[in-house]
């Protein structure tokens, strides 16, 4: 505890969002500082690094207009915390946790550090309760369960936001019919995307909390907004017993912000300039999803990742895929053929699916139907390459049947528009397809 406020005017250098203060008597890592610009504007900063009495501070806000002589830095002796209260539901904040919906700030019940604490692995409960999204291709073949983190790998121009909107509207727990509280973090979004999402959220009856960092707002806030969102999500889930669905869009903007700050710090760049610790940093967000033994409530995450250059091996989707429990991959080809949702079944995967399906959870034949649909479709897709070389005439009857099946599968099973299907309907659609092509499901 410090007895008085520590104010400094000993700034030695300024670069982008970074600021060095010298001759500092005491400071701690992660300590919140207030930065006061010469014109009286106040911003929040955070201590990143300490080397003797020189302190490196990262400033959340517009650093334009700061100077070396007159800018003041005040050390607050506390780390970054999020205010929490049940009143938070229904509110919209910016990336610095200031209300932007015109209503005054709520009175917090308490304050919690935004970086959170890792869940003790022995306290985790296995995710196994199905979340019905209403989309056949997800529920049937890449089932989402409570406590899972399942990213949507999209490419620019693909309707990822419509897919997310569909899930938001239709997602429910099969066992209880209960809805979700949605915590929404928009990072670097354009106004067009933002207004689309807000319309969807307002139509939902279950309630939401939104953190919005628009494309023209400070980049640093992109690093903070998801942490606020997850702190709120953990609070609602593990203290208030709610099932929380966290949507973060777009993680690519988050990673770019991370790269920006890393290069400003003159750190060694890793692949494509992203910092070497990006895996750990992303994990500190994604791993906050989960369920805890003996507690109600859950945090489920659906982050959206836009793959730069449609490349799934780009560091952002690559590292994300290594942390998350599967991925839903959208395909440009299917989108062009007017398939919605344009989910490519082959590279998509839900690692926690096995535990969420079957007798007592969905239906006894779920695993079998899913396996066969996948197998036949994969076969059909494989044959398309052959068809391109030898032409349809050069192929056997059996092969042509498979090709037709793959087409029908995309048209009727994957493509469904905004219509909602229950898991039962999904499985029946699949079974009917196989029957029509007289394919075995045994």
């Amino acid at each position: 505890m410090r007895l008085s406020e520590h104010r400094y005017r000993t700034i030695s250098s300024l670069a982008g969002p970074l600021l060095f203060v010298e001759k500092v008597f005491t400071a701690r890592i992660g300590e919140v500082t207030r930065v006061i610009a010469p014109d009286g504007r106040e911003m929040i900063g955070e201590v990143l690094e300490i080397a003797d009495d020189t302190i490196l501070i990262e400033v959340y806000g517009e650093t334009r207009g700061l100077d070396v002589e007159h800018t003041t830095v005040i050390f607050t002796d506390s780390i970054r915390k999020a205010p929490l209260s049940p009143d938070i539901v229904g509110r919209i904040f910016n990336g610095s946790f200031e209300p932007i919906d015109g209503i005054p700030m709520f009175i917090p019940e308490r304050l919690t550090p935004v970086t959170g604490f890792p869940i003790n692995p022995s306290a985790r409960a296995r995710p196994e309760e199905l979340i019905e999204t209403g989309f056949s291709v997800i529920d049937g073949l890449n089932t989402l369960v409570k406590g899972q983190k399942l990213p949507i790998f999209s490419s620019s121009g693909l309707p990822s936001k419509e897919v997310v909107a569909g899930i938001l509207k239709n997602a429910r727990l099969t066992v209880s019919e209960k809805g979700f509280i949605v915590v929404f973090a928009a990072l670097g979004q354009t106004f067009h995307e933002y207004s689309f999402y807000m319309r969807v959220l307002e139509e939902m009856k279950t309630g939401f909390v939104a953190f919005v960092n628009m494309a023209d707002k400070p980049v640093m806030e992109r690093l903070l907004a998801p942490r606020f969102a997850l702190t709120v999500a953990e609070y609602l889930a593990f203290e208030k017993g709610m099932d929380v669905l966290v949507i973060i869009t777009d993680m690519t903007n988050y990673c770019d912000a991370l790269r920006e700050i890393s290069t400003a710090r003159e750190e060694l760049p890793g692949r494509r300039g992203y910092p070497g610790y990006m895996y750990s940093d992303l994990a500190s967000l994604y791993e906050r999803a989960g369920r805890i033994r003996g507690m109600e409530g859950s945090v489920t995450m659906l982050p959206v990742v836009t793959m730069p250059e449609d490349d799934i091996t780009h560091p952002i989707p690559d590292l994300t895929g290594y942390i998350t429990e599967g991925q839903i991959v959208l395909s440009r080809e299917l989108h062009q053929r007017n398939v919605f949702p344009p989910v490519d079944v082959l590279p998509s995967l839900s690692r926690l699916m096995q535990k969420g399906i079957g007798e007592g959870r969905t239906r006894g034949d779920h695993r079998k139907v899913a396996n066969y649909l996948y197998k036949y479709y994969a076969k059909g897709r494989d044959l398309r390459r052959l068809e391109a070389i030898v032409g349809r005439d050069g192929m056997t009857k059996g092969d042509i049947l498979m090709l037709d099946f793959a087409d029908a599968f995309e048209r009727e099973f994957v493509s469904q528009g905004m219509e909602r299907r229950t898991v039962g309907e999904t499985l029946d659609t699949g079974l009917n397809l196989t029957k029509r092509f007289s394919l075995e499901v045994t």
Partner: protein, 541 residues
């Protein structure tokens, strides 16, 4: 001896404390976070902190512990679950709730639990270093206690019956105590008498491994694969079914939910070899991706030291780590915060030597007490973008004995385990072929050879078929493709979620024999003038 924090950068802290030793353990800050000295300069020491350094301030005190980072070794480790610093996670949960906070020291072993001691040596016996003095029963295992490893001593008193770890088991003549547990520095390999080349097989129950790329007890193998290729599922399947006494599994920088799933399974599933609960033979070390990075780096050392401890009792121990890449990344992160000169892709240049030094801790050994124990390692590697030319995979290739390459395109076809049969290899195949020949079947190697050849031929036929269409092939070739497909889809792929998850060598043999016998039979029929369709029809009936 107390110093003060002068600087903090990520997981490294510099302090103005003199008299520390390199790799000495230190306690950092008011929260008493665990750290290790990684560099000494004239006036200051650089410390790597193993816990979350958030909230740490300049001027906070730092104290040296006077010894290196250690693990506690003694009865009660089996079925335990620890973090990278060997803190017991279940006990931690009881004390601090479901979230992990920093700065808690909880001992790995339960010092109050009563064990029953059965002495083997008597009063007046002289014991050589590391000789067995007695044992306690730890579940299904005899937990052997060895004498001190420094010199020969004479026992002046030895107890029998109940004891707890805070009591002594007797004394030596020179006045030193016989203890039931002790501490051992994690970065030092445990001593043994002699090392032998691996000659006996490590049966995993995975057909593609046991048949095509067999592993050996005391050997090392890596499992590299991009995401979604089933590294974790395969590692866990091997952990469940491998023919060894004890399994040490490290979740190094991986997913928490997967660990939760694994723990629940291990608590309910039975070991197919002994019929006991799997957890009874397992030690878990878990440092998930969101737990502190430096502790992730330490976790594989913590785990391997415990594995060596059981090896020294004469057990066959299997060590699995998922994933080694996360360890290497932790090393890179620490290295860059120390501002070391980076090597390839930012990894420190000592990556390869650290790795090879580590992998050398595997092996079949004659223990100090004269028994034979083995430590085998299977390590998964997560190459970025699925590109095997990256430094971690390459460094491993030079020192490990088996390379089980997981193939993304196989995984997309849902062929699991997605082990690529052209690229993978095992250097142990020759050494242990004799065992399979004698114990399972004399024709084992011949079958292996034929199976490989079929897969090769299928590959070249497939290229032809792409051009002329499958109809354009001769019946014998189409049959070969059919057989190869049977080998791939029925024999080499194995569903981890069904009964088939574990395939003992006998079943592996009868399956491949069945397929190859059918090939012989069908070829014969083709020669007699039947068409392929007729042969297949008949087979169906």
């Amino acid at each position: 001896m107390t110093g003060k924090i002068r600087g903090i950068s990520g997981p490294t802290v510099s302090v103005d404390l003199k008299g520390l030793k390199l790799y000495e353990r230190v306690y950092v800050g008011h929260a008493m976070l665990t750290g290790e000295v990684v560099r000494l300069e004239e006036e200051r020491a650089i410390i790597q902190v193993y816990e979350d350094s958030r909230g740490l301030g300049i001027g906070e005190p730092v104290v040296g512990a006077g010894m290196p980072l250690t693990v506690r070794l003694g009865p009660g480790l089996l079925s335990g679950m620890f973090d990278g610093l060997q803190r017991p996670l279940r006990k931690l949960k009881e004390e601090t709730g479901p979230f992990i906070t920093s700065g808690r020291e909880i001992y790995a072993l339960d010092y109050l639990k009563k064990w029953r001691f059965f002495p083997i040596k008597r009063e007046g016996d002289t014991v050589s270093p590391g000789e067995i003095i007695g044992y306690a029963e730890e579940g299904q295992f005899k937990h052997f206690f060895a004498s001190r490893i420094d010199s020969c001593r004479k026992i002046s008193r030895i107890v029998e019956g109940e004891f707890s770890l805070d009591e002594s088991l007797g004394e030596y003549e020179d006045g030193s105590e016989i203890l039931g547990c002790f501490e051992w520095p994690v970065r030092a390999a445990r001593p043994f008498k002699k090392k032998f080349p691996p000659t006996s097989p490590l049966v995993t129950g995975q057909r593609s491994i046991d048949f095509l790329f067999p592993l050996a007890r005391g050997g090392t193998a890596i499992l590299p694969g991009g995401f979604g290729t089933g590294k974790t599922v395969l590692e866990q399947a091997v952990a469940k079914f491998a023919d060894v006494d004890i399994v040490v599994y490290v979740g190094c920088g991986e997913r928490g939910n997967e660990m939760a799933e694994m723990i629940e399974e291990f608590e309910t599933l039975k070991d197919p070899w002994t019929g006991r609960h799997l957890m009874e033979r397992t030690i878990l070390v878990v440092n998930t991706s969101n737990m502190p990075v430096a502790a992730r780096e330490a976790s594989i050392y913590t785990a391997v030291t415990m594995a060596e401890y059981y090896r020294d009792m004469g057990y066959h121990v299997l060590f699995l780590a998922d994933s080694l890449s996360r360890w290497a990344e932790a090393l890179r992160e620490i290295s860059s915060s120390l501002e070391e000169m980076p090597g390839e892709e930012g990894y420190p240049t000592y990556l390869a030597s650290r790795l090879s030094g580590y992998l050398e801790r595997a092996g079949v050994v004659e223990t100090l007490s004269g028994g034979t124990g083995s430590l085998s390692m299977i390590l998964s590697v997560s190459p970025p973008g699925g590109d095997f030319t990256e430094p971690v995979t390459q460094a491993c290739l030079r020192t490990t004995g088996a390379f089980l390459m997981l193939d993304t395109s196989l995984a997309h076809r849902r062929h699991f385990p997605a082990i690529n049969w052209f690229q993978s290899y095992s250097l142990y195949a020759k050494d242990i072929a004799g065992h399979y020949r004698e114990k399972v079947a004399p024709e084992w190697e011949a079958l292996q050879q034929r199976c490989r050849q079929l897969l090769q031929e299928e590959e070249s036929l497939r290229e032809v078929a792409e051009i002329v269409g499958i109809e354009g092939l001769q019946d014998a070739d189409r049959l070969l493709m059919k057989i190869a497909e049977m080998i791939r889809s029925e024999f080499l792929s194995q569903n981890s979620y069904t009964e088939d998850a574990f395939s003992p060598p006998e079943r592996t043999l009868s399956m491949i024999k069945g397929i190859l016998d059918f090939h012989d039979y069908a070829s014969e029929k083709l020669k007699q003038g039947m068409t392929l369709e007729e042969v297949l029809q008949r087979e169906k009936r």
